[in-house]
């Protein structure tokens, strides 16, 4: 066994192995360092895996050496590779940038536990992405969720606690729904392996339980992914979490749930349930459109900076779903590319917020008045992230919107409606981003408020790294687009 062949296992095991070691360290600095190194290594492994996937196609790994339906198999395809890059990348950047911010927001004695939780969230999320086993997804979903609850609860405001309680309740209900769905499918097929399930559902004569199972799984995962109207937990959880945690979770946690959702609906159910694609689209398309409109509108009227961006995330999740609900090659490519690009754009925005949060204690839009003079680099990064979110050409956001609109154009009359919604919400995005830019650049700072200096370099550098990535992937988007179109092709296997 070469090291390369073992990489899929190491991707999860490495952060898991580090977590107990980090948890009870005496020195917070050291625990941060160990966590960051582990996360960066995980990112390196993800890069290697992506290379391998691009070279040889899907990677399989049999846990414990047991063959697939009997043991648990890992399966990493292009879709998974893309998600792994997002998860490990977001974690690494958030850690690198978040040091200063976390030192402010988490008491130093609690930091080792906090970083252990961070590693577990990382391990959980990458575990979900890689596994090919339905129940294993549940187990890792719970690891990542419990760790995420803890990370969010680390926020300094007491409202973090009520927010996280809601998150916990809705997250657990979602996971349990998923478990019910798996149970029903298992009852009818006798297997837990996704590929095996797909093959065996075809033999099931009576599909009522499968249909209900598909419903439970879709709704459960939609809850976890904060799909409108099941998004109630998200705004406050993102708002009151520590800033670095928001960067991490906003970039990847909901996307991983969407990933599982797409894998189930397309791999497992699509080929077996009659007219499943029509039902899937009919169910999710209206939700996606509503999510886009409601999320954007809520963001326009929101005055808290972080909650504003959180509402925008709800709208962006709508975009991803919108692409998926086209059930076409272009549409799925658009949705998947948007997962990547939204992670970049939101990552940049929340990093900029973290920069501001280091210097300001309140993060209402009005508090930013005139801040651009004191923190020019931070605000410039915010503007760049905002442009990517709006979808200005030359930024990553444009690429996904381009694919999305192209996909909608294929859809005929509903496509026109879709385009109208996309355009309207882009304009709303202009409004809510611009409102902040205007206040920051042309407002004047309260004379009594103490002077503010630019964010520390340790925060600015990663922020600008992501900003540049936004531009880079806006101009040279080959990597995410290639991965996404390959992923879309394999998802659509039955319909092509």
């Amino acid at each position: 066994m070469t090291l390369t062949a073992q990489l899929p296992a190491l991707q999860v095991v490495l952060p898991m192995l580090t977590a107990p070691l980090v948890a009870f360290l005496r020195l917070p600095q050291l625990s941060w360092l160990a966590t960051t190194v582990a996360s960066a290594t995980a990112f390196g492994i993800a890069v290697l895996l992506t290379q391998a996937v691009l070279g040889t196609g899907t990677l399989d790994y049999a846990m414990g050496g047991w063959p697939a339906p009997y043991g648990i198999a890992l399966a990493i395809d292009e879709f998974g590779a893309l998600l792994l890059l997002i998860v490990t990348g977001a974690s690494t950047i958030a850690l690198l940038a978040g040091k200063a911010s976390l030192d402010q927001q988490i008491e130093s004695a609690r930091q080792p536990l906090f970083y252990a939780g961070w590693l577990l969230a990382l391990a959980g999320l990458s575990g979900i992405v890689m596994t090919g086993d339905a129940f294993n997804i549940f187990v890792f979903m719970e690891i990542s969720s419990l760790a995420a609850y803890m990370l969010v609860a680390g926020g300094p405001d007491r409202r973090a606690l009520t927010a996280v309680f809601k998150y916990l309740i809705m997250g657990t209900v979602g996971a349990t729904f998923y478990l019910i769905g798996i149970g029903l499918v298992y009852m009818m097929t006798g297997t837990l392996n996704l590929a095996d399930m797909e093959a065996r559902i075809a033999e099931v004569a009576d599909l009522k339980p499968i249909l209900v199972a598909a419903g439970f799984i879709t709704i459960g995962l939609a809850l976890k992914a904060a799909v409108f109207p099941l998004h109630a937990w998200l705004p406050n959880a993102y708002t009151f979490a520590p800033h670095a945690v928001t960067v991490f979770l906003a970039a990847c946690s909901t996307k991983v749930s969407l990933y599982v959702l797409l894998r189930f609906d397309f791999f497992v159910f699509q080929g077996n349930l009659e007219r499943h694609d029509v039902q899937f689209a009919g169910f999710l398309l209206p939700l996606a459109l509503l999510a886009i409109l409601v999320g954007s509108l809520a963001a326009v009227f929101e005055r808290n900076l972080k909650r504003l961006l959180a509402y925008s995330s709800i709208a962006q999740i709508g975009y991803i779903l919108l692409g998926a609900s086209c059930v076409s090659l272009l549409g799925l490519t658009a949705g998947i590319v948007h997962m990547f690009n939204h992670a970049l754009a939101k990552g940049a925005l929340f990093l900029a917020v973290a920069c501001i949060g280091v210097r300001l204690s309140r993060l209402w839009v009005d508090d930013l008045a005139g801040l651009a003079r004191q923190m020019p680099w931070t605000l410039a990064a915010f503007v760049a992230g905002g442009l990517s979110l709006i979808g200005i050409p030359g930024t990553a956001g444009f690429i996904s919107k381009w694919y999305l609109i192209s996909a909608a154009l294929e859809q005929g009359l509903t496509g026109v409606l879709t385009i109208v919604v996309i355009v309207v919400s882009s304009l709303l995005a202009v409004v809510y981003i611009w409102r902040i830019v205007e206040v920051a650049y042309f407002g004047s700072r309260d004379a009594q408020s103490p002077p503010v200096s630019e964010a520390p370099l340790s925060l600015l550098l990663p922020t600008w790294f992501i900003v540049i990535a936004n531009v880079y992937f806006g101009l040279v988007p080959a990597l995410p687009v290639d991965l996404a179109s390959a992923a879309a092709r394999s998802l659509l296997g039955h319909l092509l």
Binding site: I399, L409, S426, V430, W434, F442, V476, V481
Partner: protein, 488 residues
Amino acid sequence: MTGNWQILAAVLLPLLGAIGIAATGTRPNLRETVTLATAGALTLIVWSLLPAVLAGGRPTAELFRPLADLPIAFEVEPLGMLFAALASLLWIVNSVYSIGYMRGNQEKHQTRFYVCFAIALSAAMGIAFAGNLLTLFLFYEVLTLSTYPLVAHKGDAATVRQARVYIGILLATSIGLLLPAILWIYNATGTLQFTSGGILAGHIDGPALGLLLFLCVFGVGKAAVMPVHRWLPAAMVAPTPVSALLHAVAVVKAGVFTITKLIIYVFGIDYLFAEPSAGWLIYAAAFTVLAASIVALRQTNLKRLLAYSTIGQLSYVVLAAAILKPLAEVGAAVHIVAHAFGKITLFFAAGAIYTACKKTEIDQLRGIGRRMPWTMAAFTIGALSMVGVPPTAGFVSKWFILAGAFQSDNFVAIFTIILSTALNAAYFLPIVFRAWFREENVAPPSNHGEAPWPAVLALTITAFLTLAFFVGNQPVLDLELQLVRPQP
């Protein structure tokens, strides 16, 4: 990054300049030197492309390739060459003027001003040389965004409100109308490449073509065809050099340039001419010309009057393009130049007056000719050019447009041009008359003379150019006749 280095340099040099300006922000003299040096170098580079284009060459370059068949790529053709040459040349003049104006008025945030200016110029170069619609759209948005800080320069509440109108209209129209139009075109034809004779023939026809034209014309908000003209008067809150370069040259010209380019290279003149559903454009343009002139008549603030005059003059270009005849297209191109020279002179003059004695209302200008003879002489030349009186640049372009209109017996256009000429005269000549032949009615706050010398120098140069263009327009004609001549 491949292809002709001059093109890439033209786009990237102003960006480098912007960095240089930002780096030298604490030392004004050095900063202004950087600005001027960048502008000079840019002009040299752009003009060095001219011989090749005159000889029929079409240099190309490619920057990136974000989508498989949609690169960010450039191709120099006569229209773009003209626009780039004009914008780069006037940047030098404008920089000289800016130095006088900004220092004379002790404006704040001068570094931000020069940085944004340089970025805007980079965007203008990108628009001029864009080889496809996507590239054009990209730089169009960059231009919008980079000029926002210039418009909102003063930063008080009223200014910000107006600047919000400016950015709101421009972004909303471009994202809301132009982008869907681009996608539509791409979806229908599979390409966005600018091609002689257009790309739409055989793909979109009938009422759909009219609708697409609608999306394009109103999506290009910078062309200020009514009713999306509101941003232009709003943008007059900007410092005068901004109004001068951006709202007489770069931004608005980018708008009409885009429309002309779309009509020639995407729709195709002949294809559009044969399509009755596209006929509405000429009426929209004619209406804008006349309505803007009438509104201008009623203005009492000099800069607002110039703004409405600009709206009218821009629609001349759209009108000329919409005549859809070769000579009229040449006229449209020539009018871009002619109007640029004339209008920048007028704005310079308005700014010079403001710098010298803080006067902004037309009514205050009585007798000012005697205090500021150079300025008012230049103003007079600019005004005559707007009206289209020989020997000014305005006459040349109007001549071609009229010729084009007669070519197609388009009486709507002919009538509009004649009537609007009368209206132009009606709102410009009284100002000139007042300035030279009336006594001062308000005592000036100080016993002022001319504005600082760089400003006067600049407006003298542009006034001279306005006159010179009347006799020396041959190179421009040579260049632009290629538009209508079949490609070798």
